[in-house]
Symmetry: C2
Subunit: 344 residues, 2 copies
Amino acid sequence: MGKTIHDVAVAAGVSTATVSRALSRDSCERVSALTRARIAGIAEELGYRANHAARSLKKRSTMTVAVLVPELTNDFFMEVAEGIERELDRNGYTMLLAVSLNSVEEEKKRISALADRTVDGMVVIPSASVGDHLQVVADRGTPMVLVDRIVEGAELDAVVSDNEDGAFKLTKALIADGFRRIAFVGGDLTASSARERLSGYARALAEAGITPEPGWICLGGMRVEDGYKRMESILESGSVPEAMVAVNLLIHLGMERKLLETPAGPRSTAAVIAGFDESGYTPFLPACRYIAAQNSTGIGKRAGERILELIKEKKDPGKKKDGEFQRENAGNRIIRLPVTIIRP
Amino acid sequence: MGKTIHDVAVAAGVSTATVSRALSRDSCERVSALTRARIAGIAEELGYRANHAARSLKKRSTMTVAVLVPELTNDFFMEVAEGIERELDRNGYTMLLAVSLNSVEEEKKRISALADRTVDGMVVIPSASVGDHLQVVADRGTPMVLVDRIVEGAELDAVVSDNEDGAFKLTKALIADGFRRIAFVGGDLTASSARERLSGYARALAEAGITPEPGWICLGGMRVEDGYKRMESILESGSVPEAMVAVNLLIHLGMERKLLETPAGPRSTAAVIAGFDESGYTPFLPACRYIAAQNSTGIGKRAGERILELIKEKKDPGKKKDGEFQRENAGNRIIRLPVTIIRP
DNA sequence: CTGTTAGCGCCTTCAA
DNA sequence: TTGAAGGCGCTAACAG
């Protein structure tokens, strides 16, 4: 069995309270430096390790932040998670990574399971665009930050990419290359990111005085198979566009898959794609011309910083930082990070 | 603040003990079905949620299994993790996913931090080939299962792919295609998986009566940049092999990257690669001829099952299953899952 | 600076 | 079938 604080107290000939003070508090506690050192030594020697459950029970804080992602097998989510983890770890917090399996139902279950564990805060990459269940948990007092998507029916802080600008710049780059018949492919418009990207695309076209023809905007879905199907429809349609903006990486990949299977003859044109998210495989995608690279780790870092701020604010509600602008608590703060356009 | 068991007890007009019994124990507890139902209703109504920390403190079990992976941004690891998660969830356990950042030092830290949280068990994908620090934790009583790698200096259960067979079959397929000058590229031989794959390669060659020439075996590294460098050396060397077996996906990717940058003229041959791990990008890798696909989710599932078995065995050490073969506790059990050879 | 005391919320013997 | 009581390991008052 593990040693307890009591064992250390006995070995050191002091009370458990003293041991607790010597070991836990950030030096600034009133314990003589001497006893502190002595106790630390004895604890070390005995192999004493504080019991996390007991401490959590007493302090009502687990030093844990839950991160809920739709799936683990997604590089963007995992880069975000790594960014969060690093930030949390730097501050002595542990990340509890959980999966919502791309299902709102599952998301609800996991959220409430996590809330039961009294995590100190939660960072959520929402599975869908409804967020009442998130708001409920936030209202019950769990600090919460959203990532990647902004959600209907919830006033929550969020960290997202500047999607509008990304799509705008991608489209503009294609226009600068001389393309005019440019399609927008994929996208579930219940997702804020998809809406914003479509909007950026439309703005770039408008600024160039190009009016999108019917058929240029091929919405629907956010996953590989959707991209495949959209590309299929495009190739089968009479008028194939010269270039395309893919709403996200999975759609992009599906489109490339379809192109790969299609002999060059029948498709004639439509072999230029601009999309989102870079990876080690980007150079191998034949049609890929431009990529809007999200700062995924940066998003994670900011989300980590924000959730830690919220946790701190909750802990000492009185203290306000002097230097900082005194924003009202009401309303949500949305942090937008820029994307970088690259040509692979 | 959250409701406590006491609130429910008061509302129901019973004692806290009764509430505890009614809600926690698996029905088989001696509580009248009526009170059980009534209490459940009241608890529901009050929004009572058991305090996880308190329960853990009392029961010395957190219903949590830690999964430690070298990095999150790796599809294989994440597929394994999803497999584990599913299995754990099915049994009421929570997965605590942590990252060792590919560093033994960090791995040690995380392991001990996780042990402090008194997780009920740990599944570890080791960062390196030494495992004393793992054995220590296991010996202190934390059930532990290794995944992907077997480690020196530790007698621990492990779930791995049949790497030897995978490399053997890949090499054999290349031989069947008429190639004879076949190289083996990449590999840190401190990793059991790399050793096993090299061994399978060598066996296939031997069975075909082919003696590897010096220069065919280009060991070194397990990451993209290593594959790139190995490929570079191969191209610069006088004798370029006809085909190559890549020790893993990252090496494979690095090799393809180098080939992509090299005009067809100078390299003449050496554009056929057999490697490990399939992904959505596999069809886009120009040189890729065969893939040995690991059953990653299956590995996760088996690892989940095994760790749950070990946890159960630890809880009731007396009970032995009747039907099952009565293996001695000593010694480690290694589960090997077959790989599938595919031609993309 | 240090010790004493009283719980945090829950579970689990022991009695009834 | 239920209740009363003690304690899991730790920390935060309050005394000394």
